[in-house]
């Protein structure tokens, strides 16, 4: 549907309104909600990069730890070498990408359940390394005192400038991710997911493409981790546990992983929802869990599929036919 559509006037108008709304949002929020907005923007990059990894149909549980690799890279490079943010962010991505490249050799020999658990084990081993080697990584207390960057006299410890900066970086990354998905590479990844034997028979090296998706996904989530630590100034190992990984999974699945924008919808809607039920405190995770189950049972294609569903219920038959066609 959106993948082939050109930039028509209504779409441009909607885009412009959305952009203005996005730029205006932080000015109407309190400090802690501005923080939430920044973390949300960073998490958008986390889920979109995760989707790239899952395009081949394999679900990994190491993505959160890769975000941590980026975060630790930034913390170390700022604290020891005082590098500027222009260098630290690409460095964060590269470090995560490199580790992913190394892990390809053991991990990508596995598929499905084995890959899920294998990636989890590898991630947990990396995370425990941060805990164990106190001298380098600060142990469970992590690293602190990472100074917020100052660029052209703008202090990024203040939420609004940093939000705009994050928006630009995440925007660029999303654009690249979108281009990748709609390039030959992306199409091949889809092909491996749905027709692996066929793809192999026409000479596609599935391993190489899976590796590419894994490395690129890790690269971008590494940048997300770097963005986070630059703002927060601290990093600890318990930010990147299986708990956070589960949230990435939930966002992607509830949002819907069949479309590029599905995970974005998931992370935005669930973050707002989560904040709106803050007053329930103790039972909040249960509400979250219940929603998760309901969406799996009744909305297996994710929130992203709601408009199409509504259309097919209320609209003409031709609309639903068109939808059915474009879904394929």
């Amino acid at each position: 549907m959106s993948s082939k559509g050109g930039f028509t006037m209504p779409k441009l108008a909607i885009g412009a309104v959305a952009l203005i709304a996005l730029l205006a949002t932080p000015h109407f929020l309190g400090f802690h909600h501005q923080d939430l907005l920044i973390f949300l923007t960073i998490n958008v990059l986390a889920v979109c990069s995760y989707r790239l990894v899952t395009l081949t149909g394999e679900w990994s549980l190491i993505h959160a730890v890769m975000m941590g690799v980026g975060a630790y890279t930034v913390a170390l490079s700022v604290n020891h070498f005082d590098l500027a943010i222009w260098f630290t962010l690409p460095l964060a991505g590269t470090a995560a990408g490199l580790i992913a490249a190394l892990l390809c050799f053991p991990l990508l020999r596995m598929t499905q359940f084995y890959f899920l658990i294998g990636s989890f084990a590898a991630g947990e081993a990396i995370r425990l390394t941060w805990v164990e080697f106190v001298g380098v990584f600060g142990g469970t207390s992590g690293l602190r005192g990472v100074e917020a960057p100052v660029v052209w006299g703008i202090d990024f410890l203040d939420p609004i400038p940093y939000f705009y900066f994050t928006l630009v970086v995440v925007g660029i990354c999303l654009l690249i991710l979108y281009r990748i998905e709609h390039s030959r590479i992306g199409l091949t990844l889809h092909a491996i997911h749905w027709k692996a034997p066929l793809a192999e028979s026409v000479g596609v090296n599935a391993w190489r493409y899976r590796a590419l998706a894994f490395i690129l996904g890790s690269f971008f989530v590494g940048i997300a981790g770097g963005l986070k630590v630059h703002y927060l100034g601290s990093v600890t190992p318990n930010q990147f546990t299986i708990g956070f990984m589960v949230f990435i999974l939930i966002w992607v699945i509830v949002g819907g992983y069949n479309k590029f924008y599905g995970p974005v919808i998931g992370v935005v809607v669930l973050t707002i929802f989560d904040e709106s039920i803050r007053s329930f405190e103790v039972i909040r995770p249960a509400i979250y869990g219940g929603m998760l189950i309901l969406s799996i049972l009744f909305l297996p294609m994710g929130l992203e599929s709601i408009p199409a569903k509504l259309k097919s219920w209320f609209g003409s038959d031709s609309a639903s036919d068109e939808q059915a066609l474009s879904d394929q």
């Binding site: 000015h27 309190g30 400090f31 802690h32 923080d35 939430l36 973390f39 005082d82 425990l128 805990v131 164990e132 106190v134 001298g135 600060g138 142990g139 469970t140 207390s141 992590g142 602190r144 005192g145 100074e147 917020a148 100052v150 006299g153 703008i154 202090d155 410890l157 203040d158 609004i160 927060l232 100034g233 601290s234 990093v235 600890t236 318990n238 930010q239 405190e281």
Partner: protein, 422 residues
């Protein structure tokens, strides 16, 4: 150099920031007749025992003060209101809770447990001049002007426990240390215990630093007991109950020393009173007769203890009285300053060379190790469990030990890669 750059930017950008956010730092100076005490603490998870009971304690003290008409600050009576936020020891939540407390709830000061969460909030806290407190003096850095540790100075006071042990059990000559491998609690305490043992002429024969994923303490305990130690030191452990249980089952007969032994009734239920008796730690029960002596700066400790146990029978921990003590200390500062403004309260407190300290004998300290005299050290109790009850044996001076032996402490802190300015 990073600091000066930041300072410069801060000065030049402050105006723009205030304009762009529609938010001036002056907003924080409260205009209400209520003082708002912020508690940004862990109430769930591993660290909950060192958060939640403190909130209970503060509510009791605040209720008492409010019932007597409130606190007079600047010629006006103020009621006390407590605003709390559970960060579950997650740094992202800690930062959000801290900002919410200060900007939305207009808290006049914020009390925190300490560690990574304090490290994460302080850059912003310094920017907004938020009076913030910690229980860990290792959180103090040269940059943290508004961060003070006015009650607990973890882990400096543990030297008094070791001193008492060496004096009263001169035959105990070897020790093992088993504690968590986190920096702020485990390693800081381990280094301080090592220093204290060295000064006392006790040899540390084995040390086991473990993570938070341990479900079975049997192997850890049997590996250190194989060294036949006279003293088993738990430093600042989150797992005192399972460690004590294993010591009991593995037939350990020597002395046990710890920073604290929270919920020791549970330990007795899992082992025996006979076994737990004699354990040395540093956190008294507040029905202790020694707390009614002169020089104790806590209003009616016995009444506080009784009320706490009435409201929350099973929740007394090391921090139950500490957050209230910090709150009272801040209120003293606010009274003296006639204002709740962070800088004025801080100045009022720090201008007193002999600050009021909960166990007396207070003095400002910390520059030698962390670059700022923002820690109050004073007399600290050594307690021993006797007949199933925690009883104070003596109050000992932490500063006397530090005056003589701070070089030994610095040596061990460096050996663990812990930050010091010297």
């Amino acid at each position: 150099m990073g600091i000066s750059r930041r300072k410069f930017i801060q000065a030049s950008a402050a105006g723009t920031v205030a304009a762009s956010t529609g938010f001036s730092p002056l907003t924080f100076a409260s205009s209400h007749d209520t003082v708002k005490i912020g508690m940004n603490i862990p109430m769930t998870g591993d660290y909950a025992p060192w958060g939640l009971p403190g909130l209970y304690g503060c509510q009791i003290v605040a209720d008492n003060l409010n019932a007597s008409g409130g606190v007079e600050i600047g010629g006006k009576k103020h009621k006390i209101e407590i605003v709390s936020y559970d960060h579950g020891y997650d740094i992202e939540k800690a930062v959000q809770g801290y900002k919410k407390m200060v900007s939305q709830d207009e808290a006049d000061m914020v009390m925190m447990l300490g560690g990574a969460t304090v490290g994460a909030v302080m850059p912003w806290g310094e920017r907004k001049n938020v009076f913030t407190t910690t229980l860990l003096c290792s959180d103090i850095t040269p940059d943290t002007e508004h961060l003070v540790a006015t009650c607990e100075s973890h882990p400096l006071y543990v030297v008094t426990g070791v001193e008492w042990l060496a004096k009263n059990h001169p035959d105990a000559k070897t020790a093992v240390i088993v504690t968590n491998n986190d920096v702020e609690y485990g390693l800081q305490a381990a280094a301080t215990f090592q220093a204290a043992f060295e000064v006392a002429g006790i040899e540390v024969v084995d040390m086991n630093l473990h993570g938070f994923d341990v479900t079975d303490f049997a192997p850890i305990v049997s590996s250190v007991l194989a060294k036949n130690p006279d003293i088993f030191c738990m430093a600042t452990s989150f797992y005192t109950t399972p460690l004590m249980e294993q010591l009991y089952h593995q037939g350990y007969k020597g002395k046990v020393i710890s920073t604290t032994l929270d919920y020791h009734e549970e330990v007795i239920a899992k082992t025996s009173q006979e076994f737990v008796d004699g354990t040395i730690h540093q956190f008294p029960a507040f029905d202790d007769p020694k707390l009614t002596e002169d020089g104790i700066n806590f209003p009616d400790p016995g009444g506080f203890d009784a009320e706490f146990r009435k409201r929350h029978p099973n929740d007394w921990s090391a921090v139950s009285w500490e957050y209230p003590a910090i709150m009272l200390n801040w209120l003293e500062g606010a009274k003296a300053a006639g204002s709740t403004d962070s800088d004025k309260v801080l100045k009022a407190l720090q201008s007193n060379p002999n600050p009021e300290f909960v166990f007396g004998g207070g003095k400002w300290w910390g520059k030698e190790l962390w670059g700022r005299d923002n820690v109050v050290i004073g007399r600290w109790p050594v307690v021993v469990i006797e007949g199933g009850k925690t009883r104070i044996k003596e109050f000992a001076s932490v500063s006397d030990w530090l005056d003589k032996h701070s070089d030994v402490l610095i040596k061990y802190m460096k050996s663990h890669g812990l930050r010091t300015v010297s």
